[in-house]
Structures are given as structure tokens and as C-alpha cells.
């Protein structure tokens, strides 16, 4: 039972192994060389030429078998024995053995013929083997280079996908419908606040709905957008959100990639203030420091603890956006502050806005 199972697996796996070892180009090469050696030894041997060629072919095939087999077996090599050395030892040993076998089946060989075939085969086979191994290594290196090239282009492709995605910033349905429910509540109760809140919502939607056409905006626009968003959120959680925005007047006209500030502020609300029962405070500061413009959003929310996983898409796209706009010349950092909360800071080159 055990035995038959073992047999079954062996027969099933052998063809692929044999096909690999006796791949046609290799076999053709081996047969050609063996035949040549057969003809060569035939010049000096006592046997007829076909017998010499047959013997050489037997030896050649045996060498190919051992050479190919030792490429995969054993799967793990001991540290002190390189595979190449093992393969050379293998073919050196198999030459006299297979020559003996060849003489056994053809019969009538002499000691002189046996010695001749063995010596000639031993002269040629190791060099051919070394040549083959070197060629294989070359091919391996080329394959590897190609592989890395493929991977690199794959990453580049993904990067451009990310660029497209970030240009299509989306309004979250959850945010939109929750806000609309609030607006409806204000309208239903006849609150005078309703109109102002609608204005904020319109300002927010105008900016947040995909705007492929505008690649840049000014810090002033960004602040207006962030303020619209914060006003909406404050309407929704009046007892849990306070905020203050300070924009240095000289920075108002500076260039800023769209949605930069909004992403930071949305992130502070969503991952800092909203999950916190008592809520907290958001401080936005934008100022000029020498030739750079610094944007800082501090919140007193729940901190980084709970965010490492949920957080992501928004900030990842923000990084991409900064990279696209300023190359490596913009910095973005997110740090935890005491006693609680997060400080997000973007530093970018000071660049006058186009409009």
C-alpha cells in the first residue's frame, strides 16, 4: 500500500523532471558532442565506428542525466559544498561508470578502448559543464534585471493611478447626507441660521466636487474652504467643536495645491474630534517662515492611538499631491502632542499664486 503510493507519486512527478533535464536544446547539444567524441575515439579504437558512437552516446546521456539531476537535488546544499562542485564531481564519477555500462551492453570492448573513451570524456565534459553553468548564471542575472525592471514599471503605473485618484477627491455620502439632514432640521424649525449654513455647504461642495481644471489655488481659497467645512461641522456638533483659524495676511495670495488644508482639517475632525465624547478644539495657523510657508493644524482630540488603520487615504493622497506640486521640496509630518491630540504640519516653498 505504502509502496504503491510512493510509486504513484514518483511516476507522476518524473515526467516534468525528465522533461526539464532532457530539454531538447540540451539533449541535441549532448548528442552532437557525444557523437563527435564517438567518432574521435573511433579513429583509435579496436571496435567498429557505430559501436564507438553508441558507447559515447550512452556516456553522454548519463552525464546529462547526472548533471541535470544534481541541479535540483538535493534541494538544500550543505554550506561547505557548493552545488557547482557537486555537479562536477557527479559527472566525473558517472563517466567511468556509464562507460563500463556502455561496454557491458555492447560487449567485446578492450581495456584500451574503455580507457580511451573515459579519458576523452573526462577531458571534455567538465569544461562543457562549467560553460553551461556560467551561461545559466548569466541568464539568471538577466532574468533578475528584467524582473526588477518590470516591478519598477509596475510601481510607476500605480503611482500615476494614484495621481488620477487624488484629482478626483470625493464628497463622502455619509458627510453629505448628515449635513443635509441638519440643514433640513434648521429649515423645518424656521431657524435664521439655515441660509448661512446652506451657503457654507455650497462653498464646500463647489470645492470638494472633482475639479480637474484647477491644479492650484491660493491659501486664501483654502482657508475659506476649511472655514466652510468647520462651520458645517460646528453646526452639527456645537457643544463638541471649537476652532480658530489664523492666516498671516502676507500668505493669503501664496500658491497652495488644492484641498491641502481641507484634508488636514477633515482629518482632525474625523479622527480627532468626532470619536471623542467631550470633543475638542482645532487650531489652524498659516504663516511665512523665511522662504517657506508653514501650515499647522492642531487638535485636542483622541490622538493617534485609534487612527493608524482607519486613517490613510486622505493623508496618503495629500502626500502624493505635495510631491506632485513641489517635488521633494515639501514636508508633511504628523506628531502626537501632550496632553492629547495631534499636530499636522505642512511646510512648502513660498510660491506666489497665479491668480
Amino acid at each position: 500500500m505504502f509502496y504503491s503510493q510512493a510509486m504513484a507519486t514518483t511516476t507522476a512527478s518524473v515526467p516534468s523532471g525528465f522533461r526539464r533535464i532532457f530539454a531538447w536544446p540540451r539533449l541535441r547539444f549532448t548528442l552532437t558532442v557525444s557523437a563527435a567524441i564517438g567518432l574521435l575515439t573511433g579513429l583509435h579504437s579496436k571496435a567498429t565506428l557505430p559501436v564507438d558512437v553508441l558507447r559515447a552516446l550512452v556516456v553522454g546521456c548519463a552525464v546529462l542525466l547526472v548533471f541535470g539531476w544534481l541541479e535540483y537535488w538535493p534541494r538544500r546544499m550543505p554550506k561547505w559544498l557548493p552545488r557547482t562542485v557537486l555537479r562536477l564531481i557527479g559527472i566525473t564519477l558517472v563517466i567511468p561508470l556509464s562507460a563500463g555500462f556502455a561496454f557491458g551492453i555492447t560487449g567485446g570492448g578492450t581495456g584500451h578502448d574503455f580507457g580511451l573513451l573515459t579519458v576523452v570524456a573526462l577531458l571534455f565534459a567538465p569544461w562543457i559543464a562549467i560553460g553551461t553553468i556560467l551561461r545559466q548564471r548569466d541568464a539568471f542575472a538577466r532574468e533578475q534585471a528584467l524582473e526588477f525592471e518590470l516591478q519598477r514599471s509596475e510601481f510607476e503605473r500605480r503611482e500615476s493611478d494614484a495621481r488620477l485618484r487624488l484629482l478626483q477627491a470625493q464628497v463622502e455620502p455619509h458627510f453629505l447626507f448628515n449635513t443635509l439632514a441638519n440643514v433640513q432640521a434648521l429649515v423645518d424649525s424656521g431657524s435664521p441660521q439655515a441660509s448661512r449654513v446652506l451657503t457654507s455647504l455650497i462653498a464646500y461642495l463647489r470645492a470638494a466636487v472633482p475639479r480637474m481644471h484647477s491644479q492650484t489655488t491660493t491659501l486664501e481659497n483654502e482657508v475659506d474652504l476649511a472655514r466652510a467645512y468647520l462651520e458645517l461641522m460646528q453646526m452639527r456638533m456645537p457643544d463638541r467643536l471649537q476652532y480658530a483659524i489664523h492666516l498671516e495676511p502676507a500668505a493669503a495670495r501664496l500658491h497652495c495645491p488644492p484641498m491641502t488644508l481641507l484634508t488636514l482639517v477633515e482629518n482632525a475632525v474625523r479622527h480627532g474630534i468626532d470619536p471623542s465624547e467631550p470633543g475638542g478644539r482645532i487650531d489652524v495657523d498659516i504663516w511665512i517662515r523665511e522662504d517657506r510657508c508653514v501650515m499647522r493644524v492642531k487638535d485636542t482630540g483622541v490622538g493617534l492611538r485609534s487612527v493608524t488603520r482607519g486613517l490613510g487615504t486622505g493623508l496618503s493622497t495629500l502626500r502624493e499631491r505635495l510631491k506632485l506640486a513641489f517635488g521633494g521640496n515639501a514636508q508633511f509630518s504628523l506628531t502626537e502632542i501632550a496632553p492629547r491630540g495631534v499636530c499636522a504640519e505642512v511646510s512648502m516653498p513660498r510660491r506666489e499664486g497665479a491668480s
Partner: protein
């Protein structure tokens, strides 16, 4: 005796709106308590024992689903949610009572009829335990099997977030993991986090990060080239870094196959 209800929503305007709408859709209903989060909802429930609970799904601290799990079958539950694909899908499939914000009067009227019917027939509240467990899983962002984007790490004395794609490689150091990454200026930096490498590994994007050694995981895009060493080993050379990383035999196939 009038039916009693609790309303839980973290947004005051929406609480008021629901109170107003219920006043016209069900004048006989007493709103005995209002809560601003899941924890308050549970407290108020225990104090007032209302017949019906209207629970906002997303609330700070404990969510509406968690509050519902606590309340169990002791009250009829109605979930209130702004558009949320997963929640609405789960509610609809589980035949739970739910309202979508902004609440439509017609929809509310239907819900009110159903609740009145159940109260009149003295039907017990629906058994929702299994469904709520499922919902809690679906709605909890921490449970979503997405790959890690940011790592929270100590750099010197500050705690900061490192973007996963900025990491060159991670190396296990007993219970800690050493992270070699690039700051915004492309300078190589090192940081340490308290999570073991084997816990991080399943969360990393497998198409970008490869384990090449028992204790080393490398970002494939940080690899400059690989040199093959003697006897079935290899060394990884990184872009802009001096150190090389070992590839152990078990992982060598990564750099062999096409």
C-alpha cells in the same frame, strides 16, 4: 399607558428634528430621554426603561450598535443612520427597523405603524444579537482587512506617523521592529516600533513588501540590485543605503522565478 422612547444622536439638531417629527407622527409617544452618545444611551435606558430606542449608528465613544447590544431585547430598536452602504444593507437584510437621515415623514409613519402594532400585540422585541455582532464588525474600521498605510513610531523623543511606502526595510529586534525609512527630504532615517515583525507582516501590502529573511522584510521598490553570494544565498543592496540585507535560502526563490 403611553409608549415611551429614548432618542440617541450626537448631533443636537437631528435629535430635535426627530422629536418634532415624532410629535406629529405619533402624538401619544413620550420621549422620556435623549442621549448624546452610546454611553449616555445605555445609562438613560437603565434609568427610564423606555419601550422604544431610536439609536444613531455613529456616535462618539460607544456606537449605536454597541448600545443596542447592551439593550438587547428589552426594548424595540430603531436604528437611524446617514447614508452608509454597509449599514443600510445590513439593516435591510436583517429586517431591522431603520431610518435613513434625512428622515422622510412617510418612512417614519411606516415605522411608527409597525412599532404600534408590535406594542399592541405585546410582541417581544426582535432577537438581533447575531445581526448586531455582524454589524459591529462591519462598521468597525479597525476590523477591515486593509493593508497598513501608516505606522506610529517613536523617532527620538517624538511620536510620529511614518507612511508605509517611505519604509525601506523592517528588521525584527526581539519584541521590537526596527524601521529604516526616508524622511521627506529623502534622507535615510531609523525608528523603532513596539510591534513584532510577524504581527506587522500580514498587514503589509504583499505586492510591495517581501520577507527575504526570518527577521527582514524589504520594500521591493527600495531594492537597487541583488548579488548572489556563495552557496544559495544572496545580498540585497538598497538605493542610497550602505548596508546590505541577507536573503536566506528559503526566500531565494523570490529573486529567481519570473
Amino acid at each position: 399607558m403611553n409608549a415611551t422612547a429614548l432618542i440617541a444622536d450626537d448631533e443636537p439638531l437631528l435629535r430635535e428634528a426627530l422629536v418634532r417629527m415624532l410629535a406629529s407622527a405619533w402624538p401619544g409617544l413620550d420621549i422620556v430621554a435623549q442621549a448624546r452618545n452610546g454611553r449616555e444611551a445605555i445609562d438613560q435606558f437603565e434609568t427610564h426603561r423606555p419601550n422604544i430606542c431610536f439609536l444613531d449608528v455613529q456616535m462618539p465613544g460607544k456606537s449605536g450598535v454597541e448600545a443596542a447590544q447592551h439593550i438587547g431585547r428589552r426594548a424595540h430598536l430603531v436604528f437611524v443612520t446617514a447614508y452608509d452602504e454597509y449599514a443600510v444593507q445590513a439593516f435591510a437584510q436583517g429586517a431591522l427597523d431603520y431610518l435613513v437621515k434625512p428622515v422622510e415623514p412617510a418612512r417614519l409613519a411606516e415605522t411608527v405603524l409597525r412599532l404600534q402594532e408590535r406594542l399592541r400585540a405585546a410582541q417581544p422585541a426582535l432577537d438581533t444579537e447575531a445581526l448586531l455582532q455582524h454589524l459591529a464588525r462591519v462598521l468597525n474600521p479597525d476590523s477591515a482587512p486593509q493593508s497598513l498605510r501608516w505606522l506610529r513610531a517613536s523617532v527620538g523623543t517624538t511620536v510620529r506617523l511614518i507612511a508605509v511606502q517611505d519604509i525601506d526595510f523592517l528588521r525584527a529586534e526581539e519584541k521590537y521592529t526596527q524601521i529604516a525609512w526616508r524622511d521627506d527630504t529623502g534622507q535615510p532615517r531609523e525608528a523603532v516600533i513596539r510591534t513584532a515583525l510577524k504581527e506587522l507582516l500580514p498587514q503589509l501590502d504583499a505586492s510591495q513588501f517581501a520577507q527575504v529573511h526570518r527577521s527582514v522584510v524589504v520594500n521591493l521598490s527600495a531594492v537597487s540590485h541583488v548579488t548572489r553570494g556563495a552557496n544559495e544565498t544572496a545580498d540585497i543592496h538598497l538605493k542610497g543605503r550602505q548596508e546590505t540585507l541577507p536573503v536566506s535560502r528559503t526566500y531565494l526563490h523570490l529573486f529567481r522565478q519570473m
